[in-house]
């Protein structure tokens, strides 16, 4: 322990030279960042001009002249936004055709799901109890949605819709697709030709078709192959299609991460006597998956938004329920407001994912 210190430098003197102060107050910041070169100055002025032109009418429309909690008649009397379409139809938008008297059940299920997601954000809780909490949560959500026991009225899954449907399709779709994608990526790197070509074929096939066609297949073609009398829930089939689709993309992203790991890491693991699974689980994947957090989250975010494609097989996710509201003559013509609301819902979810990914990156940085 003595001989590790003999190269260390002496402690620096106390009156150290401070780094130069570059930012002097607001003016300094503006000068340094907005008007530091002539083209930056031009850009700044252009942006200011655009804001001056656009912002006032926008504020007027969205806030000053808008209606919030009125009926549709009141909306006709103003040029402003008719936000009233949202509160008036919120139940249908959020829960679709779920029986109104029972809508507390999907609400509770969604709250449970969101709570679990929030807890899972924190890596300190990534232990066994959280896994049990998820399993328990799943069962409770299933019971709440389906009913049929504990005195809850049974609700057919064809009546499910809105936000719970969107969230369930995405959360379970993404959590199942991720490990499947990792396995596919490992398979594609395998030295065994059979496994390797199977994975390559799968990935390339799936990536070669649009998600819509997979959803169609799951809805229309797949049931043809089932023996008579057996039907598989439509939501489940859509879910499987989403999982299979997303996994192929995750696989390619993860493969990129695997290729970035130097050969020396495999050799060091090998030379310790670790077997293949230990090497992957303990050495390679932790590093590879960390590298590809940003592109993985991109894939997951776009997969999340793609769940809205289930409308084409007549599932009422939150996009479809919002759209249906607009076909009501009373609310026709307020699509801007409705879609803006929808955009906000989607944005909140995507923002949750991307902040989580950045948080994770920060925490895992070594």
């Amino acid at each position: 322990m003595t001989d590790t210190t003999h190269f260390t430098r002496p402690e620096p003197e106390t009156d150290e030279i401070k780094p130069p102060v570059t930012q002097v107050g607001v003016i300094g910041w503006i000068k340094a960042n907005l008007f530091n070169t002539w083209y930056n100055s031009v850009l700044t002025l252009a942006v200011l001009f655009a804001l001056w032109q656009l912002a006032p009418p926008l504020v007027e429309w969205a806030f000053l002249d808008s209606r919030w909690y009125t009926d549709s008649e009141a909306c006709r009397t103003t040029d402003g936004a008719c936000w009233s379409i949202i509160p008036n139809n919120i139940r249908f938008i959020l829960f679709g055709f779920y029986p109104p008297s029972e809508q507390w059940r999907p609400l509770l299920a969604v709250i449970l799901l969101v709570a679990l997601l929030f807890i899972s954000r924190n890596r300190r809780f990534w232990r066994k109890p959280l896994a049990y909490a998820w399993m328990g949560g799943l069962v409770v959500m299933g019971i709440l949605m389906r009913g049929g026991i504990l005195g809850l009225d049974p609700v057919e899954s064809s009546q499910w819709g809105g936000l719970p449907l969107t969230l369930m399709l995405s959360v379970f779709g993404l959590t199942a697709a991720y490990p499947l994608g990792v396995v596919l990526a490992l398979g594609r790197q395998s030295r065994m030709p059979a496994i390797k070509s199977l994975c390559v074929i799968y990935i390339e096939l799936i990536r070669g078709v649009p998600l819509i066609s997979l959803l169609f297949m799951s809805a229309v073609i797949f049931p043809l192959f089932l023996p008579e009398g057996i039907t598989i829930n439509k939501i489940l089939r859509a879910q499987v299609a989403i999982i299979l689709f997303t996994a192929a993309y995750v696989a390619e992203v993860v493969r990129g991460g695997l290729q970035a790991i130097p050969k020396g890491q495999y050799e060091a693991a090998d030379s310790l006597g670790l077997n293949y699974f230990q090497t992957m689980r303990l050495i390679i994947l932790p590093q590879a998956l960390k590298i590809v957090i940003p592109p993985t989250v991109s894939v997951l975010i776009s997969a999340f938004k793609d769940t809205s494609l289930v409308v084409i097989i007549a599932l009422y996710d939150i996009l479809k329920t919002t759209q249906s509201t607009l076909s009501n003559p009373k609310w026709m013509g307020y699509s801007t407001e409705a879609y803006l609301f929808l955009a906000v819902v989607y944005f909140i979810c995507c923002f949750f994912m991307s902040t989580f990914s950045r948080k994770l990156e920060r925490e895992l940085a070594t």
Partner: protein, 267 residues
């Protein structure tokens, strides 16, 4: 634990060598081994016996196959003809046997190859916990013991990226030692280091040698070879060209190529 092994107090003076090579027991036996990379004949008819507690230094020009040879011993490379027997087990495609041999053979790389996402302590305990199935607490005690030995116990909670090259290489040595290997392979362990860090790594290796570790070291540190090796092998074009005690090897080289090589690196 190996607490009973005397720790040398001063690594500078190795006048007498207390370690006796066991003449009977060959830990590594290589018989008529060949290896090709495609058409390229990297290793040509290699014969080598390494006895317990013996220390062998391999040197030779770049590309002569030194790395490949020692990497064949723990099957990081696969040989194509001949036999390699390590600790009584012949190396074949049998994965279980390969893993068994790798447990007993430690390896230190030129570029350290520490696991950057794990702390120093985790780097050291990984092998014992997952391969040797040692309880975590015991593995950590062993790890701390070896970290003390390589003089970096205070860095145990840091990550490899926060250490200097010399420190990282000492961690790499300690990581191998934690597996309690029978043989240690070193592939140019000091050649990626800044000059002032070479000594701290060599000191660790010298003290390891004093404790009776069986070592095969690929290095161009001729001072180390002189003071530590029992035998020096000179390789060129995939063959072991010359093999001798360090004194004979340096003072009285037999082959022209050895002479040329020595004149180039010793001048």
């Amino acid at each position: 634990m190996t607490d009973t092994v005397p720790t040398p107090t001063d690594a500078e003076t190795p006048p007498t060598d207390p370690v006796q090579v066991d003449q009977n027991e060959a830990v590594i036996k290589i018989i008529g081994m060949h290896k090709w990379f495609g058409d390229f004949h990297v290793l040509n008819d290699i014969h080598l016996d390494v006895r317990a507690k013996e220390r062998i230094v391999i040197c030779g020009p770049s590309g002569s196959g030194k790395s490949t040879l020692i990497r064949c011993i723990n099957r990081l490379e696969e040989h194509q003809r001949g036999k390699i027997i390590v600790d009584g087990i012949e190396l074949t495609n049998n994965l279980k046997k390969i893993e068994k041999i790798r447990e007993e053979v430690g390896m230190v790389f030129q570029h350290f190859n520490l696991f950057p996402h794990l702390t120093i302590l985790e780097n050291l305990t990984l092998g014992p916990i997952w391969v040797r199935r040692v309880p975590k607490k015991e593995a950590e005690e062993t790890a701390m013991y070896y970290l003390e030995k390589v003089h970096i116990a205070e860095q145990a909670r840091k990550f490899p990226g926060q250490l200097s090259g010399g420190q990282q290489q000492r961690v790499a040595v300690a990581r191998s030692l934690c597996m309690k290997p029978k043989v240690m392979l070193f592939d140019e362990p000091t050649s990626a280091l800044d000059p002032e860090m070479v000594k701290e790594v060599l000191d660790v290796m010298i003290s390891l040698a004093r404790e009776g570790m069986t070592m095969i070291v690929v290095t161009h540190e001729m001072g180390f070879a002189k003071s530590v090796a029992h035998r020096v092998l000179f390789m060129d074009f995939g063959k072991i060209v010359e093999e001798n005690t360090p004194d004979e090897f340096f003072d009285n080289p037999q082959h022209e190529r050895t002479k040329l090589f020595l004149s180039q690196i010793l001048h």
